[in-house]
Subunit: 415 residues, 2 copies
């Protein structure tokens, strides 16, 4: 059997049943529930928190009818024909002024952008469109009732729903919440995500004795992915390939974390203690997921806390965290099941692919087309820095030709 | 003159010279310089910081040649023909083991994923492809020298450049930096960005006396945009429409901030004290920028500190912050001039547009097409929560038809 022939074999070995990415995701989506802890915080400090309840406007935006321009306000009914001449009031109303008077019919008042329309005014003419002569303003402009004004509540009316439960709060949402009178809001507590690396080969610092050991890149990477997503990473450190040590770590972590990400030991090898432990004691979904990279992925519950057993390989761990970790965390966090944004763009590459498994390629966009990294080796951490997104190839795809439209998921929509 | 006729006028009024968005951006790009303050931090804590210098690998990744699979390692030169029979060593090498022996020609040793290849081994056969009998392993597989192994430094070789100065550090970059032996790195100090709101109409809290006043939504919005970008927002509070008050605030802020964002008072009206002050004392670039929303935008230097005088309107302030603030801050921060990612997608709307100005529409993607918000009113803060990006229409565009390709910039690539 040649290497080429091996590569062409159907990926499903005898006696093993494979689970597709979509089946696994659908199962998880239906079987997990949000964690319902909340707190009350100041709106200004709520960036990236998730709303715990629908928010209804306490105040209309804008709160009062006002002028959108610098100009002269008057009653539209004062206009008899196109040649308009109105008496000019002596006062001037600026934004924030509380003008108590009434502008009589046939008169106009100077009014500056953002100022409340006084009684008697429903329309504004731009100041550059009028002539002032003998304490009168003269203009010849066809103006509709209400022109150059903003109605009270034209953006949001008091009592109307502003944002719904599950919204991840962006900077612009903060503006909206403040404008509609909110100062404190109820938000979900950020998910507490435990991060554990396993493996005898792992070290934290280089020394001359450890030239053949691996610096633990996964744990800081995962801690920072989780941080970028607005959750609270909890550092569970490293564990050796030792069943009791891993068990103790999981027991402690499952008391304090909402979900646990492990990396390493997730496959079916002799030293894959995480998978063996989750299988014996942790209600492992006994899945072999038909995807590349990331085949060894163990998803289980430990004392009722979800555990995502990621591959030890940083590239595979990264891809599995995006594809499985992001929607799972979204659901648990109250934000809801999250699917990455994607775009169909032409491939700047060709590729033969096995039918029956989903593949994720490290990609970047150049001149509107998706390029892929020169090597698919999952040890190539540098490919993750090179890429600006992933290309997802479906199970049924056997070949990608130059110019074929492929599904590109930018990291910008993932992190 | 009818409203329709006014709308159709060329936007350039007599006696005013307009600056295009691109001209203004190009001028700023050439006239600003990065702030060169730095600090040294732990790699694990470096998310969203910007590298101050190129980073060269202190260690190769992988640090030693190792096996990519669980299998049996041997010297490729031991293979005489396709029917291979090798003596099986008693030892077993797992990841992280330091095996001191040499595997003799004609022998093989059990080796687990990630383990260093011992002396005498250059090739690995998968364990499921061999038969073990009488302390020998037997297989009939065409295997290339080096198959199933990873070369030392095949990702990054010691001494090679890993990431370049100006890189904004992502979670995956942290993995790469750690894997190549970095523990501390030099990064630019995050930009200190002062945020000031101006206007007599602004209040911080609603009271019954202030029904016609405006809650200050801009300052918290801008503080959080800046925070989301990884910079340090500095709250300069509010100022009334008072020249001396604004002057005092700018004097203090220019001593502590790298750049100042103001909102309000940026136009040419009577109460536009920010613009008037920047013009008289602040080296204002006297631009009227041909864009919508966001026409009143003042860009100046105050005691040599750049000041971006944003419109008071939250929608216009938001758009100007994205279009001008993001690249300017990128340049000052050391990351470099930043242009938002964009995609060409079909329009799900029609629109007539004035030639000669650039327009930014609040948009969102549905079924691969760009929809726009039902109102272009710049008081509609809710449109910013509704949208997931902006559509940019070029100066020369006069009409957008259903299905025309438009430039869509997702917020995901902006924040």
């Amino acid at each position: 059997m040649t290497s080429q022939r091996r590569e062409n074999l159907n990926i499903v070995p005898n006696g093993t049943s494979w689970t597709s990415v979509d089946e696994a995701l659908e199962h998880l989506r239906l079987s997990l529930k949000p964690i319902l802890d909340f707190k009350i915080i100041n709106v200004s400090d709520s960036l990236d928190y998730i709303l715990y309840e629908d928010i209804f406007a306490k105040r209309s935006n804008p709160p009062v009818a006002n002028t959108a321009v610098d100009g002269f306000g008057f009653a539209h009914s004062s206009m008899k024909n196109h040649d308009v001449k109105l008496n000019l009031c002596l006062d001037r109303i600026a934004a924030g002024d509380s003008y108590q008077g009434t502008v009589p019919k046939g008169s106009a008042i100077k009014i500056l952008t953002g100022a409340e329309l006084p009684k008697g005014v429903d329309t504004v003419v731009l100041q550059e469109e009028v002539t002032i002569k003998d304490e009168k303003i003269i203009f010849n402009v066809d103006i509709k009732r209400g022109e150059n004004t903003r109605k009270v509540g034209e953006d949001i009316e008091k009592g109307k729903c502003v944002l719904i439960e599950g919204t991840r709060i962006q900077a612009q949402d903060i503006a909206l919440l403040i404008a509609t009178g909110m100062d404190h809001i109820k938000v979900y507590l950020p998910l507490k995500i435990g991060i554990l690396s396993t493996g005898n080969e792992l070290i934290q610092k280089v020394s001359n004795q450890d030239l053949n050991k691996t610096l633990d890149a996964n744990r800081p990477m995962l801690m920072n992915i989780v941080k970028k997503w607005g959750y609270s990473p909890i550092d569970l450190g490293n564990a050796h390939d030792d069943k009791e040590e891993i068990k103790t770590k999981l027991n402690i972590a499952s008391n304090t974390c909402d979900i646990i990400f492990t990396s390493g030991g997730a496959s079916t090898g002799e030293e894959d203690y995480v998978a063996r432990l989750l299988k014996s004691d942790g209600n492992l979904y006994n899945w072999r997921i038909a995807m590349k990279p990331g085949r060894p992925l163990a998803i289980a519950k430990w004392n009722n806390t979800p555990v995502i057993g990621l591959p030890g390989n940083p590239v595979a761990a990264f891809v599995c965290t995006i594809i499985f970790g992001k929607p799972i965390c979204g659901l648990l966090s109250g934000e809801g099941w999250l699917e990455p944004n994607s775009f169909k763009i032409p491939a700047a590459f060709t590729k033969n692919k096995k039918i029956g498994r989903r593949e994720y390629l490290r990609a970047r966009v150049k001149n509107g087309k998706a390029e892929i990294f020169h090597s698919e080796g999952s040890g190539r951490i540098s490919s993750l820095s090179w890429a600006d997104g992933l290309v997802e190839l479906q199970e049924e795809t056997a070949k990608v030709n130059l110019g074929d439209l492929v599904k590109y998921m930018p990291f910008g929509g993932i992190f």
